[in-house]
Amino acid sequence: MSTHDKAYLHPEIDIQTTGESWWNLMLMHLGRHTLLLAFLVLVIIGTTTSDYFLTSANFTNLLRTMSVPAILALGVSFVLIVSRIDLSMASQMIFAPVVGVTAITLFADLMDFSVLVRGNSFTGSSFALVVIAVLTGGFVGWLNGIGVMYGRITAFIMTLAMMQGLRGMNYYLTGGHAYYLQESTYTWMGTTELWGIPLSFMVYVALSVIAGISLRYTLVGRRLYSIGGDERSAALAGVNVRYWVIMAFIICGVLSAIAGILFTSRLQSVDAPLGFGYELNAIAFAVIGGVSLAGGKGSPYRVFLGALVITTLLNILTLWGFGSWYQNLAMGIVIIVVIAIDQWLHRRSSN
């Protein structure tokens, strides 16, 4: 492995620790561990101000709230690492299960039986639904990638159009009604938990670990980081840029579909207007976790920390009795302040 690769994988080695004042050293270490520190401070605040914060019920709730947007954030990280963006995640999240339900319903109609009973309750196979949803996610991601790499459409515009188009399709396919997904396997996915840890969170952790390992130790990571670092050099060095960027979009699509399955299994229904604005939350989680919009930077572990800090903050606000308006307010301020501090620390350390 060249030193160039090492610099991507171990950002700490580029720090010059010789001849720095203690104040600068402290700031640097703060810069590395801001999120962990912020989390600890939040836990202390939460524990001292609310009796419910350290209960297992609240813990379960926190993990459950966190996992869906965190999976989206993990997905968009792949796209951000190759310095593209995906705004269509939230629409994809709903589109994938909707396509699953529609396809199975059509198939059942052809075979002369019905999987939609009592109005809009879906009773078909959950396994088939999950498989179709994941394939749909991958397909939509592939379309985004094709548009960006072969159509040379800016990712922002391509995925913005995808977001609107899929939202329209969601309304069209559902006919504006909710589908109720109360088949037993599906509801099991949404409700089951082990030692207070919900299934959705376990899925998220498993996906994060896989993503972390493949980004850090395999060809996938080396290719994606090198494209994000400098696309032209990567191409000149023989990296198949088109293939890897499209791959990043496909990964993002598949993860959006998985997030959608977990999201709808918890709600036990799917409806076109759901998930509005989730794409921006996911991007915020990723960016607070240190994924750079300019590409080439970011790791699943830090995305996890970003998601954890924000979700804990929102959880404490809920326990204090502040509604969603205050939570969004806090979220907006946190995004701006975290990045402003980050920029300031970065400028200090680069001076």
Partner: protein
């Protein structure tokens, strides 16, 4: 004129190709629907596009300076709700003044964050999108206000002067000001310079901070103005208005030739793109295509136009 030279002429003039698309779509529309070519319908098209068009003008200047403003939809709602708190007085002027000031304040904060604190504008205005929306809700308690007693305010959305709806006149005013600012004033070249290459612009004595503050304040102003036109048209000041407008405005500006990488964009391009969108929605409504399928068609058209736009860029 040979085919090749016609092609070169077409591809080298982005505004001409946009206008051609506009004329082509209009021609199609008139074939599809006999009522398309009527003064009433044209007024209708422009009035429908006024709100998004005003926002897109602000967005164009922001994009030219190399930044992006995702907070415009929320700014619309926030500034309108601030204005609505003064409605009890019964006079329109304080409401309008407060709304515009609130919009410009949001823009000022965005501009300070981007220029002084160096927060990337995508993040700064994404944060502001959440922040301004919730502030709007907190100011109003989530309740809509009904400005029908304010005659001056209602005039913005429903009145007409010399037979032309005021909404269109307001839009025209914004277009003329933007055109003047970008092509005739000293600010215009500075905007393009900072957007194309900030370092070079700063080294040649242009204050990037001043430019960025200006574009964000202007964008906030446009958002507030658009919010008032929309509220007056609907007779309701609603804290959840404008959701998703930022993305439509960006799509309009980009199809009009602005680039997300800065340094590019024109008023006439954005205006034509807004008219193209207006005609498209108009055709959909005349033909009777439902709103959800409209979204799908518009998405396809955005992708197609962005693709053609890219072809043209590479041809030049």
């Amino acid at each position: 004129m040979t085919v090749a030279s016609a092609k070169r002429w077409f591809t080298s003039n982005s505004i001409i190709s946009l206008i051609s698309i506009f004329l082509l779509i209009s021609l199609l529309a008139s074939l599809i629907s006999p009522v398309f070519f009527s003064a009433d319908n044209f007024q209708n098209i422009i009035r429908n596009m006024a709100v998004v068009g005003i926002i897109a003008m602000g967005m164009t200047t922001v994009l030219i300076a190399g930044e992006v403003d995702l907070s415009v939809g929320s700014t619309m709602a926030f500034s309108a709700m601030v204005g609505a708190t003064l409605m009890g007085g019964g006079a329109s002027i304080p409401v309008i003044a407060a709304t515009l000031t609130a919009g410009m304040l949001v823009g000022l904060v965005n501009g300070l964050g981007v220029s002084v604190f160096r927060v990337p504008s995508l993040i700064m205005t994404l944060g502001m999108l959440a922040l301004a929306r919730s502030l709007g809700n907190l100011v109003s308690g989530g309740q809509s206000s009904y400005p029908s007693s304010l005659t001056g305010f209602m005039f913005l959305g429903r009145g007409s002067a010399m037979g032309i709806p005021v909404a269109i006149l307001v839009f025209a005013g914004v277009v003329v000001f933007s055109y003047y600012m970008l092509t005739l004033s000293k600010m215009g070249p500075a905007l393009y310079a900072v957007g194309a290459n900030q370092k070079a612009a700063t080294l040649s004595g242009i204050s990037a901070i001043k430019v960025k503050l200006f574009v964000f304040v202007f964008s906030g102003f446009c958002a507030a103005l658009a919010g008032m036109v929309q509220s007056a048209r609907l007779g309701q000041i609603n804290p959840s208005m404008g959701q998703g407008f930022e993305l439509t405005a960006i799509a309009v500006a980009v199809l009009g030739g602005a680039s997300l990488f800065g340094g590019k964009g024109t008023v006439e391009g954005t205006l034509t793109a807004a008219l193209i969108f207006g005609v498209l929605y108009n055709i959909f409504n005349l033909v009777g295509i439902s709103g959800h399928i409209q979204l799908v068609f518009v998405a396809l058209i955005i992708v197609a136009m962005a693709y053609l736009h890219g072809l043209r860029e590479r041809a030049v």
